[in-house]
């Protein structure tokens, strides 16, 4: 997924259609339409760049969709597929190999020094290494991964239902969101680690996994080793890779850019069910 283009344009007012009284009606019409089209485009770009329009008007779409989806199918299961549907190669997107020295050390040690920290608004902060996660009851599911760009790939995931982990750490009454902190820095200077968040209901969905296997093999580095999130009813950017720490919070306003995830901070929708 590319960063969204830096948006310079849109400020150039479209040239006013020159409507000469003497010109024939047809060219007047054509000029009028072209001018109207250019004005429409320039106007749309101006609205896109305004502070209020995306926030107060366009976001209504996301809010409506989310509300209807929650009403229609809060507990629905994502479609599951068969081995015959598996994509020959499961595409790696975004970070394929986190550059941080900490992560590279973990890779060199085959993740023997890695452990997932679970903390925040919990009565019992815990940490789980790979052996501990593999010792918990596992679930395997063949699901479709849908990227926000438009492509889909089908893979077989094995992991621990997140609900089990949440249950063990005992969230406090005010915990509302689960935040996933990742090892991959998103800026070339090594800052802005990837992060994501979902609400507690989504975290308790039976298909929401902390996956350590893809297609029957340990999760490759390109796909998020040693552990990644699977939230099967939402888009690819929700499926955080290279998990390091899980934090339960009441609000994600003070984390990162405050919108609940790396791509959300870049303007993508927090609710990625559409």
């Amino acid at each position: 997924m590319d960063r969204r283009a830096e948006v310079p344009g849109g400020k150039d007012g479209s040239p006013p259609a020159r409507l000469l009284v003497s010109s024939p009606r047809r060219s007047l019409l054509r000029g009028g339409l072209a001018g109207l089209g250019a004005a429409l485009l320039a106007g749309c770009d101006r609205l896109s760049n305004s502070a209020w329009f995306p926030e107060q008007v366009l976001s209504l779409g996301e809010r409506l969709s989310s509300a209807v989806h929650q009403t229609l199918a809060a507990k629905a299961m994502a479609q599951e597929f068969t081995e015959a549907d598996l994509s020959p190669v499961f595409r790696s997107n975004g970070t394929a190999n986190p550059e941080s020295s900490e992560y590279q050390k973990l890779v060199a040690g085959e993740f023997s020094d890695w452990a997932l920290q679970v903390s925040g608004l919990v009565e019992q902060p815990m940490s789980f290494n790979l052996a501990a996660l593999r010792a918990l009851p596992a679930r395997t599911q063949i699901t479709r991964h849908d990227c926000v760009e438009g492509w889909s790939a089908i893979g077989k995931w094995t992991g621990v239902p997140l609900a089990q982990i949440i249950e063990q750490v005992k969230p406090t009454a005010n915990a509302r969101f689960v935040v996933f902190h990742c090892a991959d820095p998103m800026e070339s200077d090594g800052t802005h680690p990837y992060y994501e968040s979902i609400d507690l209901a989504e975290a308790s969905h039976p298909q929401t996994l902390l996956a350590y296997e893809l297609n029957g093999k340990p999760l490759p580095v390109a796909n998020g080793a040693p552990l990644r999130l699977r939230v099967e009813r939402q888009l690819g950017y929700k499926q955080a890779k290279y998990l390091m720490r899980i934090e339960l919070v009441e609000s994600f306003a003070s984390i990162g850019g405050g919108r609940g995830g790396y791509w959300e901070d870049e303007g993508y929708q927090w609710y990625a069910g559409i």
Binding site: M1, D2, R4, A5, V7, P8, G9, G10, D12, L29, L40, L41, C44, D45, S48, P54, V57, L58, S59, L60, G61, E62, L64, S65, H69, L72, A73, A76, M77, A78, Q79, F81, D85, S87, P88, V89, F90, R91, R144, D146, C147, V148, E149, G150, W151, S152, A153, I154, E232, R233, Q234, L235, W263, E266, G267, Y268, Q269, G273, I274
Partner: protein, 286 residues
């Protein structure tokens, strides 16, 4: 297109009659706005991954059915291409490679002159698309309820037996650009009725369904329903193809409006009043 109440005659020949009711006019222009923005933001969304597939996923071992991109030409110059079922077409300047607003060449599937937003900006295009998808769906529902309640659908759009019997003649008339005159111009002709019905009851529901099929959340509402469309990637292809068909419909619609009296049609869709000439000229107000 309903009441036969005639408006006071104006100076020129013919007489105005009340053709489009206020709700139909409002819903028509709401449709124009939302479909235009849906198309343009949809093209921007398509640009994020300008390939269409048939199947449940994109990576099935089969190549895309449609791909728009750019590559180095034989002379080293960049070339824009469109590949459909393996047949490649050079679309330099329009698809795959085109000039942006500042005149520089851009490697982009659909040119920024036809996308909303203009520059590559997927998240904002999604904001536009999903907002106007709601406008469009709610407007469509309102139209259906109104059309059924007021009798507009049955009275004005449903073809009669004589309509259907005259279909051959209507096709010939369209080819010759001969448009109904006088009293006959007060009703939609049979091809018009069938085109409107096909759009309202086939293309629009199908494009909405295919849009829903791309939502991973809605896919779970009824397990496996997306496979009825051939899978999510097929649904994406169906969504795109119908968008092309709707664009073609609009092109023909606007063409017919222009050749059968642009100002008369425009006035009737703005004020409601359409001029019918008793004599035999076409209805354009000149």
């Amino acid at each position: 297109m309903s009441d036969t109440a005639t408006a006071p005659n104006t100076a020129s020949a013919g007489r105005l009659y009340y053709r489009h009711t206020l709700p139909v006019r409002v819903m028509h222009w709401t449709n124009v706005l939302s479909l235009t923005l849906l198309l343009m933001s949809g093209l921007q969304i398509f640009n994020a991954h300008p390939r269409l597939y048939w199947g449940k996923s994109s990576y099935t071992g089969n190549p895309p059915v449609l791909e728009i991109g750019s590559r180095q030409g034989s002379g080293g110059q960049p070339v824009g291409f469109t590949r459909i079922f393996g047949h490649e077409f050079d679309t330099t300047g329009v698809l795959g490679l085109s000039s942006g607003s500042n005149g520089s060449l851009q490697r982009v599937a659909f040119p920024s002159a036809v996308t909303v937003p203009g520059p590559y900006w997927l998240s904002m295009a999604r904001n536009w698309h999903f907002f106007f998808a709601w406008v469009f769906v709610l407007n469509g529902l309102a139209y259906l309820f109104y059309g059924l309640w007021s009798g507009h659908l049955r009275r004005d759009l449903w073809p009669t037996r004589p309509d259907l019997a005259g279909i051959g003649r209507s096709i010939l008339d369209h080819i010759r650009f001969r448009h109904p005159q006088g009293e006959a111009a007060r009703r939609y002709n049979v091809l018009q009725k069938l085109a409107y019905l096909a759009v309202i009851f086939v293309l629009l529901p199908l494009i909405i369904l295919a849009g829903w099929a791309m939502s991973p959340w809605l896919d779970g509402v009824w397990p496996g329903w997306v496979d009825l469309l051939g899978g999510r990637q097929s649904a994406r292809t169906v969504h795109f193809v119908i968008a092309c068909l709707l664009t073609a419909f609009v092109a023909v619609h606007v063409f017919e409006v222009i050749v059968s009296g642009l100002w008369n049609h425009l006035r009737s869709m703005i004020t409601g009043y359409y001029r019918v000439n008793e004599g035999g000229h076409d209805g354009s107000a000149r």
